[in-house]
Symmetry: C2
Subunit: 391 residues, 2 copies
């Protein structure tokens, strides 16, 4: 997988006419540049540089005690060890390559391309001071976002498998949950099924799974509480699992019938169907060449046209090695999204679609599906929820 991604990155460097991509990093188990998982596959202790060249060069400059582990990995065919300092071997290597543009690992807009810390950046400037390379540094955002976005076939297969297992888990949990259970108890049911599958969570344990029931619940990004699922509640879960390093991230909605109720109230069904249709409509619109904010507007516009409040977040994010993965985002043109609303959708990207509606007195209706962008549209990697689940 790593060799594939390195070959892909070399062709992206050629496409963008960038001579060199340099990941500058240190103590990578303390602050970890997520690009290391894509094109290195190991960690480092001391200041280190991983160089990938437009001409196919693969060079690692490492503290001497880190070299054995990377030789064992066998990804970088030239490994330059140092004992006292990285300045001399780094400058010597740059002189040999003489790159006109050096893309380094920071990005204002894409946190998955922003692994260089500010202290390390100052250190790098200090090392390069007085050399011609100091003025040749640019952001590697364009390289990393393309590399992360353009999923290879094996990557898509892993995401699809993670989705299939998660949809299966939702089906299985229906046999074990009932009115009166707490959010924590429902989460425990999900964790048990996950463990039986031998899979791991896609994000932090404290809110993976997240379970929200009723009108008083936090609704998103918080851990399960002792709140109980009561008749009249909308209940939703947000959960993802990892298969061979690749994530799912899906949401599902239940309604808890009151005694005597045969179906959910009209307002609940209007919200549920609104979410379902917003996902379907935005999925139909999504294709290579459209802008992220245009896709978001399709879903957002449908929901506000029904008289509901707009959701306070993006319609969808990319997914891959992380649940939030890569720059392209289906989001409105709000400050917090930087330049992302204008990002252009490309073939091979995998997006979530996850609008939400708060229904006063009942809770939150929300579904989240995952699609891969094809040549002229999308293919669903998760089987969409089309009917509200009842308890």
């Amino acid at each position: 997988m790593i060799r594939d991604k390195i070959e892909q990155s070399i062709s992206i460097l050629q496409e963008l006419n960038i001579d060199l991509w340099m990941i500058f990093t240190r103590e990578s188990s303390t602050v970890h540049d997520p690009s290391l998982d894509l094109v290195v596959g190991g960690n480092v202790t001391w200041a280190s540089a991983f160089l990938i060249g437009k001409g196919g060069e693969k060079i690692a400059i490492l503290g001497s005690l880190d070299t054995a582990a990377h030789e064992e990995l066998g990804i970088y065919n030239e490994i330059v060890p140092y004992v006292k300092g990285i300045t001399e071997p780094l400058i010597e290597t740059l002189k040999k390559l003489d790159p006109k543009k050096i893309a380094i690992n920071f990005s204002v807009n894409d946190e998955t391309a922003d692994g260089l810390t500010h202290g390390q950046y100052l250190l790098l400037c200090n090392i390069l001071e007085g050399t011609p390379y100091a003025n040749r540094l640019i952001s590697s955002e364009g390289v990393v976002s393309r590399l992360r976005s353009r999923k290879t076939e094996p990557e898509i297969r892993n995401i699809e498998r993670a989705c299939t297992e998660t949809v299966d888990l939702f089906a299985k949990m229906n046999d074990h949950i009932r009115t009166g259970m707490t959010e924590k108890e429902i989460a425990a049911v999900m964790v048990k099924i996950m463990e039986d599958k031998g899979l791991e969570r896609a994000w932090d344990e404290d809110h993976c799974p997240a379970v929200f029931t009723g009108p008083e619940s936090a609704g998103a990004h918080a851990g399960p509480t002792d709140r109980t699922m009561e008749p009249g509640h909308l209940m939703n879960v947000d959960f993802g699992m990892r298969f061979e390093g690749y994530c799912s991230d899906l949401q599902r909605t239940w309604y808890c019938l009151k005694p005597g109720e045969m179906e959910p109230p009209a307002i609940v069904m209007k919200a549920f169907n609104g979410i379902r249709d917003a996902i379907r409509m935005s999925g139909e619109f999504l294709k290579p060449g459209v802008k992220g904010k245009e896709v978001d507007a399709v879903a957002r516009g449908h929901i506000t046209s029904l008289g509901f409040d707009e959701y306070p977040h993006a319609l969808g994010h990319q997914i891959g090695r992380h649940a939030h993965d890569g720059a392209g985002l289906l989001c409105p043109a709000w400050e917090r999204y930087g330049t992302r609303p204008d990002s252009i959708v490309e073939e091979g990207q995998c997006y979530t679609l996850e609008p939400r509606i708060t229904v006063p007195g009942h809770g939150v209706a929300t579904m989240e599906e995952i699609v891969v962008v094809t040549k002229d549209g999308v293919r669903y990697l998760s089987e969409p929820q089309t009917k509200i689940m009842l308890l």
Copy 2:
């Protein structure tokens, strides 16, 4: 524990006369500022600021969907949510506090204080442009390194327990290892004992435990291989476990007797005793007020005086929530260590002592112990190895 560390950080701000410490971060499960584990205890999705003031202020500015989780944690008594962008609430909050000095989360020298990525730094500069606060930013290195270094009593107890469990594991593994086993088999014995104890590794699975046998082994920072332990080999292991979030990091040395040998060769014993004495002597020298490079020189000088090569790394690092934790380092004045060789030892710091000697034809002799700096010396948190273990 987090409340204790926040109170400690307020008194450090007063000591350094810094008005405000701001951790600026985003998507903290993608790139994680290690200071979050000290004074936040949770993650965030969108651009966020955690503000701790000299006057005891504790304010979190968060994307609206992140607020519930942090309200649940209950650490920050003022939580300011935003939907569209952090600029307005951040500037409003700074206006209210009007800090003269704002320490932010970057550091050239200390990677555990360097969680602000360069892209986020540029974003922050952009947000503050045109306000008086743009020119009031300084590094929070001094705050974070003191906060991380000055272990509270509960923190020291956790590290000591992690050490005790690790020393016990070394004793137990002696019943299960024998000549002819591979490094991987020996590592598996260690992992089994760890799992029986219900504890976790202190660092990456790929080289925790690390096992090195014989003259051909990597010697450090690499994973176990299929090399077998043969008569005449020095074998060493490097292993750490985590107790309640706090780490051990210890090394031990074995010699594998040849048929007919009653004791290791003289050169092996000279190296083993050299390491043992270098640890003892540097431990006797270590006390508040001395410089890191002076402590390193005691051990390094002893080893070179015996005619062995000097070790290609520092004598010791601090330990705590990470195996490598905090700026102060017992290291020589080499470029790669930046300003750390001149760091001053303080009471309450916990250091490893870990010189090494390569013995040609046999392998590497190395022990690693952990001490806490007391008022006038050190106390060992690990029971030191004084005799070479034989197989």
